[in-house]
Structure formats: C-alpha cells, structure tokens
C-alpha cells in the first residue's frame, strides 16, 4: 500500500491528537472504569475522525479506507485499548449499516450527530444466550401499526451506559435462524429501556460495557435500517468492518509494545549487561517483529482489496484470527521480559496483557474464525 504525504500528515495529526486527548488520561479512566465519551468524541468528530469514509452530505470526510487503516493503527498505539474499542464501535460497528442502508431521514437524525461526535452509539447484537452464534438471538420487535414494540436483553454492549442510540439487531418475524431479523436504530431515551448493569471486565476497563434490557419499548418502524428482515445479512457485512478495524488497532498496539519493551531492555541491566544484550531475548523479539510485519502487510492487502470493492471476508477472518493469537503471545512475551516489574499494575505490560486477551473473543471468537475459514476453503466434510 502506498502511503502519500497526505497519509503521513494525517498520521501525525491523529497521533498528536490522541497523545494529547487520551494517553495522559488512560490510567485515570482505566481506574474509573469509564471515560467521558461525549467530550472525547466531540473533539475527535471536530477533526473528522468519526466519519472518515462516510458521505460528506452527512458530515463524513469521503476518504478512502487507507485513512481508516491509519486511524486504526494510531488508536491501537495510543496505549488505551478500551477507548480505541469505544471509538471503533462508533466508527466501524454501530454506524456502517446505517450509512450503507439507512434512509436519508434516519441518517440525518442519527448518522450526522454520530459523525460529529454529538451522539455516542453502540452495537447491540450479543445476548445472554447468543454471542458468536448470532442466529440464536431472541430479542424481539413485534409490529404494532407503525411502531416496533421491543422486548428482550443485550449483553456485553460497549458504550452501553453512555450511548444515545443503539444499532439494535432483533427478531422481527417468527422465521427463526438467520431469517427474519432487522437492524433498528434504538434511541436510549425510549421508555422501557434500561441499563440493567455495568459489567466488570478483565481488560479494556476504561470502556463501559453493559447489559441492557427492553420492556415494551416502542420505536417507529421507520427507524429500521435498510430492509425489514435483512438484518442478519446486513449485520454480517458490518462485522467485516469491525474485524478489520480491530486488527488495525492490534497492529498499532503491538508495534508500540515492541518499541517500549526494546527501550526498557536497553536500559535494564542484569548480570553486568543490558538485558537486550541477551541473544535469546533479541531473537524472541526479532521473531515477533517479523510476525507483526507479515500481519501488518496482510492488513494492507486486506485494505486494498476493500478499497477495490472486493469481498474481504476471508482476509478479515484470517487477519483477526492471526492478530488475536499473535497479540496474546506478544503481550505475554513483553510482560515476561519486564520481569517482576512487568507483573505490577503500575507498569503498562500488566494492563496490556489483560487488554490483549479480548481480540481472540470479541467480534467473533477464534474458533468462529476457524469455522468460517474452514467453510471458505472447503475444509469440511
């Protein structure tokens, strides 16, 4: 992928902005289990970062996907994956379907404010009994005239306590399986909606994650995104964006983690020499750097295919699988080479180790990625 002077300039803007607006607050937000989404998103929105690829008619920047790669890498690099995930939900998980399939009215009312950072959004798919198996969801929207009446619950919802609207996937007919689902824009000030509880997570603690409940909550049928009954297919499409953006984050974060580990091992001395003089350590880090480089360029190939309008299902599936595994290995190695101090919460490695675990689970677990790939490549009988 060819990055131009404009890409370099954009990367400097994003890095500088995130280093000013996020990095200094990361520890405080992690401790609080919360970050000020509305305030931060307004700043990011003002710099055009929440709607890079979206239609300028709704406040988007009309950029190609290569800029989203840079944004993703820099979000990963800033040292606060919780916030990176929250931004990713806004830009690549909750809004792509609305942008692609939503009516002009719906986009005017909900997409524009999300791009400007005036509204915080969530993607509400997972339920207590349906995670990676999306076809198993039970939250139901029953039609009553020109309204949907919604009942059910959603679990592990990022930005869930702060969201102004949800991209909600629910059943709108009795067909069962992956048929008869719809995506609905659900404003969280709707009567009958409640945040049941805020969840306590292993990592990404600065990002609020919630369980949500819906009891006879009524929204207009015109809030349906795209075609009624096509929600599953639209959501599967939206997952490709989610996986790609998560991998860009991961690549940026791993690059930074290797740099930080290298700098520490240069100055940390043991047995009369810097730890980095140890060939075992050199080779382990070089091996990780090599694997990271392969992954980085694989994501660039994925991005190019996406820009060319090709189906990136296989690319995104493989990238997410390999990134999740590499990140676990890399975070573990960085912590290991820091020794005792690396195990302390005061050192970045401890949090990075916890935060890194999620990629193999969220947005479709490793095992689901393997299942998808097996099917695509015909490893089935």
């Amino acid at each position: 992928m060819l990055f131009t002077e404009e890409h370099d300039s954009f990367r400097r803007t994003v890095r500088g902005l995130l280093e000013r607006e996020v990095t200094p607050h990361a520890d405080e937000w992690e401790e609080a289990g919360h970050f000020p989404a509305h305030a931060l998103f307004k700043t990011l929105g003002a710099h055009g970062l929440l709607g890079l690829e979206y239609d300028p008619a709704y406040g988007g920047q009309g950029a190609d996907h290569s800029y989203a790669v840079i944004l993703g890498e820099e979000l990963g690099r800033m040292g606060c994956p919780g916030v990176a995930m929250a931004v990713g939900v806004q830009t690549d998980m909750a809004t792509p379907s609305l942008h692609r399939f939503g009516s002009p009215d719906l986009k005017e009312k909900y997409l524009g404010p999300a791009i400007r950072g005036e509204m915080v959004t969530s993607i509400a798919v997972t339920e207590p009994d349906a995670g990676s198996d999306v076809a198993g969801i039970r939250t139901r929207a029953a039609r009553d005239g020109d309204q949907w009446v919604i009942n059910g619950s959603k679990l592990y919802i990022t930005n869930g306590t702060q969201a102004d609207w949800l991209c909600l996937l629910c059943r709108t007919s009795d067909e069962g399986g992956y048929r008869g689902m719809s995506q609905i824009v659900f404003p969280t000030d709707t009567p009958g909606f409640a945040v049941s509880r805020k969840l306590d997570k292993l990592g990404n603690r600065s990002s609020d994650t919630a369980e949500l409940s819906f009891t006879d909550a009524r929204v207009p049928v015109t809030n349906t995104i795209g075609e009624i009954g096509r929600g599953f297919q639209q959501q599967m499409n939206q997952f490709q964006n989610e996986r790609m953006s998560a991998v860009y984050n991961s690549v940026g974060g791993m690059g930074r983690a290797l740099e930080r580990t290298r700098e520490y091992l240069k100055q940390r001395r043991a047995f009369g020499a810097p730890l980095l003089a140890n060939q075992y350590i050199q080779f382990k880090l070089a091996e990780l750097a090599a694997e990271l480089d392969v992954l980085r360029h694989y994501t660039y190939a994925c991005a190019e295919a996406y820009i060319a309008g090709q189906d990136t299902t296989r690319f995104a599936t493989i990238a997410k699988l390999k990134a999740g595994r590499l990140q676990r290995n890399l975070a573990d190695t960085c912590l290991q080479f820091h020794g005792g101090i690396g195990y302390m919460e005061e050192t970045w490695t401890a949090r990075y180790f916890r935060d890194s675990r999620l990629l193999s689970i969220g947005g479709g677990a490793d095992e689901v990625m393997l299942q998808v790939l097996s099917r695509l490549d015909g490893f089935t009988a």
Binding site: E6, S9, Q61, Y67
Partner: protein
C-alpha cells in the same frame, strides 16, 4: 487582516542531525518538516485573521530542493497560500542573507502583520526577526506572548525575565512569538486534503530582485569557524537513603540554587 508567517522547514529533530564537515552547516537533505516553534506563529496568525473577520495567512519560507512538506502542514492548519524561495544559489546563506530573502518575499504579500518564531530549532541564531524588521523598515517586537490588534496598532505583551511588558506599535510590524502561548491546532482531514490544492509560489533569487552575490555562501558575512561536540553527560550521583534521603535532596537543590 493579512498576516505573513515566516516558517522554516527543518530536518526532523527526532532523527539524527548531521553537520557538513567542511562548512560546519547542518545537512538539510531529504524530507523536511515544519519547525514546531513556527506552529505557534501559524496558529496565532490564523486566530488573528479569524478575529479580524477576514483576511488570510500567507506563509513565507526559504528551503532547499523545492521542499514543501513543512509548508503543507501549515497549509493544512489553515494558511491560505505560501511563498517558497528555493534556489541552489542560496546554499550557505547566513542569517542576514536569509533575512534579505525573506524580507523581499514578504514585501510581495503586502501584509498587515508579520509573525515569526523567536528562533529556529535547528539554527538557533534568533536574529532573523529583528533583521527582517530593519530591512522592511518596520517596528520589531520580540518574545510576544499575547497579541491584540486595535485599529492601526498592535498591542503586545512581551515576555521578559521578570514578567512581561506591554508594548504598542503601529502596523505593519514584525513580531516574534514565543512557543507555548497558543495551542497549535492539529490539521483536520479536510484541512490536509485542502492543503494539496493551495498555491505555493516558488521563486528564485532573481525573481526577488536580489543581487545573487549578496546571498549564498559567497555573500555570507558570518562563518562557523569550528564545531565542538557537546561534553558527554557525566553519570548521575547515587544517594543511598538511610532515612535522611529527603534532607540530601533538599541540600542538593539548595546547592544548585533551585530552592
């Protein structure tokens, strides 16, 4: 309110700087970036033009090899256009020669106000703002920390060692701006894309009506005669804390006259 901001494009300070062995000048090849100390002048210029409700910011720069990378950064922040003087005959130009070139380029923009940094991050002479003012016959105010336009005058809070003094001078004037007095904006995506299409007028020495022998190495009246590496840093002092560590810190701070 039309503002000219003088900006320098320099080798990235995060990288390794090299000196030419014979001339002792900084090697300025490859990609250059906007000197961060100039970003404050750009920001202040943009704010003053916005407050005045009209006018624009023009960048003036002198750089080798038609370099525009740093200019594009400032254009992405919101400057309207740039004048770049790039000419092989300018290699080896000293501070006064640079001031002559910049002053001639500034004249073409007919500004109401000229802003510069107090000094560049790679050269550190700090003499150019006053030299430009002298060449243009304009008032010079250095170390400006707050700038207010009132009619045909500009009021400046000027940083001094003890505090600041308030100075009022008629426009047009040349002001050097201290770092950190405004927060330079990050260019937005739209700004970065718009910068691609903004005009950069590239000029040669002859375009400015300057005698070629007055600039470049031959015209330089300033010569770097020797360069000595900075003394290597000595190892720090390690104090063992036997319960009186804080007293040792206090006496150390007293010794170096910090407290």
């Amino acid at each position: 309110m039309n503002v000219v901001v003088c900006v320098k494009q320099i080798p990235d300070p995060a990288g390794t700087m090299k000196l030419d062995q014979s001339s002792h000048n900084l090697v300025r090849e490859g990609k250059l970036i906007l000197d961060e100390s100039d970003s404050y002048g750009v920001e202040m210029g943009l704010q003053l033009a916005e407050q005045a409700g009209g006018g624009e910011v023009t960048l003036v720069s002198m750089a080798p090899n038609s370099e525009t990378s740093g200019l594009r950064t400032a254009l992405a922040m919101g400057a309207a256009r740039a004048i770049l003087v790039s000419d092989p005959g300018l290699a080896g130009t000293d501070a006064l020669g640079t001031a002559k070139v910049l002053a001639a380029a500034i004249k073409r923009a007919e500004p109401d106000l000229i802003l510069t940094a107090t000094e560049s991050t790679d050269g550190y002479t700090g003499t150019i703002p006053a030299q430009i003012a002298e060449l243009l016959g304009m008032p010079s105010v250095t170390f400006s920390k707050k700038v207010t336009i009132s009619g045909d005058n500009v009021t400046v809070e000027r940083q001094t060692e003890e505090g600041y003094e308030e100075v009022e001078v008629p426009l047009p004037a040349v002001l050097s701006v201290t770092a950190g007095v405004v927060e330079p904006r990050y260019p937005s995506f739209k700004g970065i894309m718009a910068a691609k299409g903004k005009p950069v007028d590239e000029l040669k020495v002859t375009d400015l009506g300057i005698d070629g022998s007055a600039v470049g190495a031959s015209g330089a009246r300033q010569e770097v005669t020797a360069v000595t590496p900075a003394e290597a840093r000595k190892a720090g002092e390690i104090v063992t804390d036997d319960g009186d560590g804080f007293q040792q810190i206090i006496s150390y701070l007293e010794r170096i006259k910090v407290i």
